[in-house]
């Protein structure tokens, strides 16, 4: 069964303390991996798309990387406004019925303390 697992479930950092969030997947035929940020009570906000192992994307203090089994979201010198839940999702193409299969992880809740 296709699975997406994010770790840790929650992470508390001091402002300026860099760290990484993990998204591991066991799927066949990965078509893309996506990172989102979600603030409480809001819809997810799209951050990055990664398509192949070795690919990297950056946006401000965030950098996403991809290997054949997992992706990391590196947060460099985080600020309190980076506090949010970070979700990853994988796209594994279509099933036999033509249905697009995108599976989300349960997220990592990040809290950055001033």
């Amino acid at each position: 069964e296709d699975q997406v697992t994010q770790s840790p479930e929650a992470l508390r950092l001091q402002e300026g303390e860099s760290s990484s969030l993990n998204c591991s997947y066991t799927v066949s035929g990965l078509r893309g991996l996506f990172w989102y940020r979600q603030d409480p009570g809001k819809g997810p906000e799209f951050l990055f798309t990664l398509y192949s192992a070795g690919e990297e994307k950056e946006k401000e203090r965030l950098k996403a990387t991809l290997t054949k089994k997992e992706s990391f979201l590196h947060i460099t010198a985080p600020k309190p406004e980076d506090s949010a839940t970070y979700l990853c999702a994988v796209h594994i193409g279509r099933n036999s019925g033509g249905y697009q299969k995108v599976t989300f992880g349960t997220g990592t809740k990040l809290q950055v303390i001033p």
Binding site: G43, E45, Q100, V102
Partner: protein
């Protein structure tokens, strides 16, 4: 620029009552449209997916249905709500080539009482 509107933001409905949530997208044509449900502690669950007017796909059997009467309008409905239908419902759109890179609405918090 593209925008997505989803309403209402919150909704409290009694068991057995009907449901209609509406979502509209502006600034793009022929988008893929999605309805997701997010339960506490669980990942987003894709409920319905549409590639065009009148074309709805669903892999999850449930008490809900979806319709796409216009290119940029997506509606989630139920004839009789169950307690288990409570949750955070999200509408999203994407372009075909980047189906996993979706842009989400602000969500509807549905509580069935």
């Amino acid at each position: 620029s593209q925008t997505i509107h989803q309403w209402p933001a919150t909704l409290v409905q009694p068991v057995g009552s009907p449901l209609s949530l509406e979502c509209t997208v502006e600034g793009t044509s022929n988008p893929n449209l999605y309805w997701y449900r997010q339960a506490a502690g669980r990942g987003l669950q894709l409920l319905f997916y549409s590639v065009g007017i009148g074309q709805i796909s669903s892999e999850v059997p449930q008490n809900l249905s979806a319709s796409r009467p216009q290119d940029r309008q997506f509606i989630l409905s139920s004839k009789k709500l169950l307690l288990s239908d409570s949750g955070f419902y999200l509408c999203a759109w994407s372009v075909l080539e980047t189906v996993g890179a979706a842009f989400f609405g602000q969500g509807t918090r549905l509580t069935v009482v």
